[in-house]
Point group: D2
Chain length 497, copies 4
């Protein structure tokens, strides 16, 4: 579900985009819940607001859903004892303040005539509201405001017999981006949308299959990477009566070319993950190298905006020969703190998290390397902080192109008119607003080459890139069907807790 | 929903039956949520585990559902501020430990195509599981294990247009006992089952209609009692566009004679309530008077088992001329305390709550008056405590008949084989087990006369009395449809929190 | 410590006086902490804000101090496991809101050169502030605002060798009321002030000595009552090296006649306790009997103001021949709830706790029997509630004399000018204020006769009774030493938590 | 206070040393508490277990002491509203699990005859226990087990008149390391021990004086660095009656040469701080440069062990010409999570926090740069992780010398026999234990040169360096006075909460 970013929300993480979810599942392992907790911990960067795990113990499903970090709840013995069974799946979730309520925390669960099913979802359906309205009109009761619940209702209402056939039936109605994991009494199912916008990998530990949003979730538990779930593919792992596990691959739709979301490489995925066969760290470092070639500058020191800008800054420094230094120090104790600070503390903004390393800045010409710029509000404050520390010049180099368009596939983006690129006529005006001596963005081809080795093919783009280009990979049914001034309100009910 | 009493559960409230719910609703009052909180506080004796309130503010529904007492949450300004609007309804709930989970706390809410509806329920459907299975088979997703959710699905799936017509449609499928309150965007609806097993009254404050389980909820807020909602009646209060409130009465089924549950008089209802036109305190006192006539004994002092036995003990003392004394002192600080006590504290059992007033007991012949005996386990301990305090004789007089049968209408009863009356061949054996010098129960006719003035009419009993007589007022569809050894498990999902 | 009652504090317990403490200790029992928890639970009526237990395990002292009820913390296995040892003592405490902070919760503990000592105190020193100032002037650091800490410092600074000699040394400086229990590595000490204002009893379980504020704490654990600790007596129980326990009695001062606080009988002590040889329930009932003789009235029903007025109402009813009925029903779910209610709920005041039993009140002439009247504010509301329920006449009979004077011995009393007796010229004016048809108080001689069998001896009063008479049993050093307008502030430090 | 590191404690932060405290104070600023909260947030790396703030509002002191991070409590409006006044000071604290109890959280406070005083302490007194025993012997009551309380008692017992004279009197008794901040009704005092082992700086904001452990606490609030408080200096800032602030410097003892603790540079201080005139980041980078010269190796990539090893790794890479890469990725969501994990999660150890960036490691010769090695247990696991990621060779370079000796000045060190340097005969054996291809430590002279520019002067060492050399800068009175096998137990009392 795409939730609008609130301008009056105090976002200490600054002016970044937020991904909404990470998913994980494992079938047939005696430590299923523990491994799921560890996998979700490794995926925590994809969502920090809530986490949930569902297991099946051969007789009953067990569920824990909690606000907060994975490590806050899911690693202590009491919680894990409540999650018995050899089959488990889980979800981490990001969401904006107003809607962080427990009824939306995944996995969601339904009891069907054929037995229970739990599902977890990373992505966003571009026809989710449309489907929701149709379901309610025919008597469905929606308990959450999550668009993931739509999948559950479609499964529950399918006339097919088996739960996996019902799952296939259900995803046939979906548009948009999804990496889905589902758990039934015998099956663990992984599915990726036709374009493969969100990532999902298949791994293996002690011969037991695993699905995870990123390879880093396999690494933490020592599991092997088997392959990516392909775009448009549904992989059904089933525990047979004899204890064997079978794995079946189904491609229910006509195949199209994979188009992974470029922002996975630019910002979301962990640097040690390998997404669609490409090292994220390597891609980011190449973005910095390409940026050094596209936008060189005479300077004394290359300083990353931590932590997102660090790999690109290393690349920029190596390509340019300018020394790399930690000119900004990050305070590691920010985390979930500073909830509802006073106005006077709010005013300190970026300094609660970052501080200038004066000794490396004073009197120097500084190249600041950042991964991306969204609204530019944080950049303004960082430049000001660097100048106050005595920098002679401040040059900003951004390792991705300018962002012009909203995402509808699971990235929380501000209204387009709030984006820096839409607020100023040209790059000089943006540079003046930010207060830098110069400002340069990586070109779209520079980004494509860093990630995939080739420039963008305008006839058949190799990646999902609409935030830069405006070319959306799917129809936007909900958006286009919305009446003018129609409220975005999903639920009539506001519930505390 | 009927939940089995757990034998290994440490129940400091001793060996009593538990009612499951109280309901309250008000339409058109600016202080709707506050008045609902007060009304629920007055109904707290009907359920102490959880409470919920839903309001509608003209635009949106607002919901708070919390474990704990009404006064723990619903009286502070922050909570009430989250419950704006002139329409409100609420629910207090009793439930056994294992199932006290938030998803079951009422009111339950559904968004329909025609707008939202919230419902709260006191009672139990004897065909709730049967309906649930049919709904799931046709694609419904049940989020709670509460049988109340069945009503919501029946409403959501009704083909009728208005929410009140859908409500009428839905309750046409229900068997068993119910006092229901529902809230839509313009209506407050109250309904009582055809037999009127559970009570529900209509009141009025400043011209605004109120529904409540008992009159004590009207008294606390200074509201007037208007009349009982009749058995089988649906009362629909509607806020018209011009601000007027209309009240409509519908009796969708062929009327039968009202049969209120006798246990409302024996134990559940608050003594200051008037149930179906009869003062509960007066009825209890008359039970004691009749008991003194049916089962006289020579003694020095009449001692109530607090607090349930007090009115009957006053009646017994007045009728027998034996002085009434507080021979057992109740510790008022037990409440929700003593959660999971150590085994050595558990052994103190009844003494944590009651203590013998030695000076009034020692050397005396004591008549102990209790409202009812279920398993007899607490009675054993109380007799022992009274003997240790030096009583010369201990005579137990119980102000209701022996209990032989399970309830399926919202009272939590132990398995029949655990009931004292089914464990011993005759009253002498029971008396020996309890350790008293004599033991007598009020007759069924004595109880009927105390409550209604007439003896029981065996052809058309005036009250619901199956726990004493085995004559159930409705079919027991779920029970009779259950396969032998079929698990009672309602949900495949166990959820913490 | 005497804390002023705050007028703007929402006191749902109405217009009553509050005692501050209960104490308990046991030496040589393997279940020492569990028995202490149970004893404190039985003493909970003496203080509900906080409770603490200290044990000694032969090597180390262990302490738990918690806000809340005994049963909230001290009965679960984890807490008791943190309190090992065969020696234990504990304390329950009442205090007004602003000062309910953990650093004041007893027992207080000090490490001395000769080993640790823990003490708990019921009462108040009338020279506590004076001693505190002297101690601070000589370099002592006071961590609490409790006057009990003064005793610890006096012990720590004593030049005597053994801990019991130091204890004797310390109490030599004290004026006022105290029932003290102290625990050292080998001793359990109980002490009562020279007048014996506060009660303290010596009991025995399995041959192990026990101190407790009231006998009800012995009853709950099945311990035997041995005798009262006498006024001015120090009882030292010591665990000898061979495992035997010796008990020594010391009377360090010239003996005076015992003068127990009358309010223990009127209101504080539990009805099943025996204080200074007299049954509290019996005394209260006799107050009602004497009141019926002193202040008869023609009426239809005697109604107690629950729960304090019940025994006197039973006595009044028996002596007058007017039937006793529960005309006011108490809501048992008030407890600690209703914290910081909204103004509109605050306005419901007494109705949150009490409701009129209309069927027993309407059309009747009602005698309301209460134990005492302090400011009269609650009486006004109760009379109004009874009238609204349809009473024809309301006659108030109070089972104790009018209160004119502040207490300085551990009872929290309002400023004298707030007392009803000081606000109106005569009893007729008080009656008009309260809104009753008549109002009568028990005479001081009626009270003395009810408690001790004899009228008051004005030359040597048998009890402490200054709140009625103005005759204080000890000097009021702090009060007389206080400069005009000097702030009562005890500490310079305000600490949260 | 020095607390032994527990071997069986699950320390996800691995095998590092822990500093115990940071201090901050400000005089005369209207936002005193807010600025103190921000200053403590910047000092959070010096102690994460608890934080406290004390303010004085001209009439009363106010205190908040909480377990947890600064941002968890001290930035929300309600907490800051409880801390009014223009004078504030605060403390952050590290401590091991068993002793994290509220009574030890600083600032500590005492009421003196001359008014209140609050103090906060970073460091450790080497004669703290000795002083404590003397104080108790003369009747003092110690409420905490913190050695800081000793200072309070010395102040309370001083015969001098003013609070600052008493403070001077008190610190005359202290041996060891301390950076102390004290707050009285008019004064803010900062003091550093004669050797200046722990750092303390004087800053200024809007003309108001500030004390802070490190300059980073000045930077966050935009305050100016004025100068270091000198070793052995007491700086007394006083608010005069006319509102002016005077600053007085006193050196009560014969001056000695400053000897700052080297571990402030190696590990504790934040890289952007300037300690005793030297940039910490610069010093660390020079350690890496010197290490590259002392211990070169042929390799493909320099990888820091995050985050401590990063500056040295940058220095090593620049000096050696080997590329710097983020070969280990840190999980930022570890924080306070993973409390009491199950054994199976515990086994994942370092992988919960660090993961190998396989693409940068596989097939490469890796130089791992770490800041220090204590027991080596974490190093073993990191080498193993790097090898599993496919490294061809793993060479460890440590940017400080081998640690042989315990600290007694506020650093929590394991028992000497647990230190890697004391467990193996030579560096080859250590290297084999760790599993690396080579292992080299920076020399003591290399470290001295990196920090101060000069090699160590063995006759008069410029820094505190006993952990490397065994040469302690002060007497170790407590240690030498301790009887063999005497328990280290400080208090007879164990208190929960």
């Amino acid at each position: 579900m795409v939730l609008p970013m609130q301008d009056d929300h105090f976002d200490i993480d600054g002016d970044t985009l937020h991904e909404e979810c990470g998913v994980f599942g494992i079938l047939g392992h005696p430590e299923a819940a523990t491994l799921t907790a560890l996998g979700l911990h490794a995926l925590q960067h994809r969502g920090q607001e809530a986490a949930g795990i569902v297991t099946f113990d051969g007789r009953q499903f067990h569920s824990e859903r909690q606000l907060g970090l994975v490590g806050d709840h899911y690693t202590n013995p009491a919680t894990l004892a409540r999650l018995p069974g050899h089959m488990a799946m889980g979800h981490v979730r990001y969401s904006t303040t107003g809607e962080t309520i427990l009824r939306n925390v995944q996995p969601l669960f339904a009891e069907l005539e054929v037995g229970g099913i739990a599902i977890a979802h990373n992505g966003n359906f571009t026809n989710g509201l449309t489907l929701r309205r149709q379901l309610i009109a025919s008597g469905a009761i929606c308990q959450s405001t999550s668009d993931t619940e739509v999948v559950l209702h479609l499964i529950a209402r399918s006339r097919r017999q088996s739960s996996s056939d019902r799952f296939l039936d259900a995803i046939g109605h979906l548009e948009g981006a999804y990496a889905l994991v589902a758990l039934t009494r015998t099956k663990l199912i992984g599915a990726r949308d036709p374009n493969g916008i969100r990532p999902l990998v298949l791994g293996e530990l002690d011969g037991k299959p695993i699905f995870a949003s990123e390879t880093c979730a396999l690494d933490i538990i020592g599991a092997k990477f088997v392959r990516d779930v392909e775009n448009g593919e549904v992989v059904i792992c089933e525990m047979q009566a004899n204890g064997e596990i079978t794995i079946e691959s189904i491609k229910p739709r006509v195949p199209v070319r994979e188009r992974v979301c470029l922002f996975e490489y630019v910002y979301f995925a962990r640097p040690d993950s390998v997404v669609a066969g490409r090292s994220v760290y390597g891609a980011r470092k190449r973005m910095g190298i390409n940026l050094a070639q596209e936008a060189p500058v005479e300077a004394d020191v290359v300083v990353p905006v931590p932590d997102g800008g660090t790999p690109a800054a290393i690349g920029y420094a190596q390509a340019s020969g300018i020394p790399f230094e930690l000119g900004i120090i990050r305070n590691h104790y920010v985390g979930r703190t500073f909830i509802e600070p006073t106005q006077s503390i709010r005013a300190f903004g970026v300094k609660l998290k970052h501080s200038a390393n004066r000794a490396e800045i004073a009197g120097k010409r500084v190249v600041l390397v950042d991964d991306s710029i969204v609204r530019g509000t944080t950049s303004v404050k960082i430049v000001q902080m660097i100048r106050e520390a005595g920098a002679k010049e401040v040059h900003i180099r951004v390792a991705s192109p300018m962002i012009y368009h909203s995402d509808y596939y699971g990235i929380d983006t501000p209204d387009p008119e709030k984006l820096l690129a839409n607020q100023y006529a040209d790059i000089e005006a943006m540079c003046r607003y930010i207060g830098a001596d110069s400002l340069q963005f990586l070109s779209i081809d520079g980004l494509y080459k860093a990630v995939g080795g080739e420039p963008r093919n305008p006839l058949a783009p190799q990646f999902t890139d609409h935030y830069f280009t405006g070319e959306y990979p799917t129809p936007l049914t909900d958006l286009n069907g919305r009446q003018k001034n129609e409220p975005k309100q999903i639920s009539l009910m506001r519930e505390a807790g």
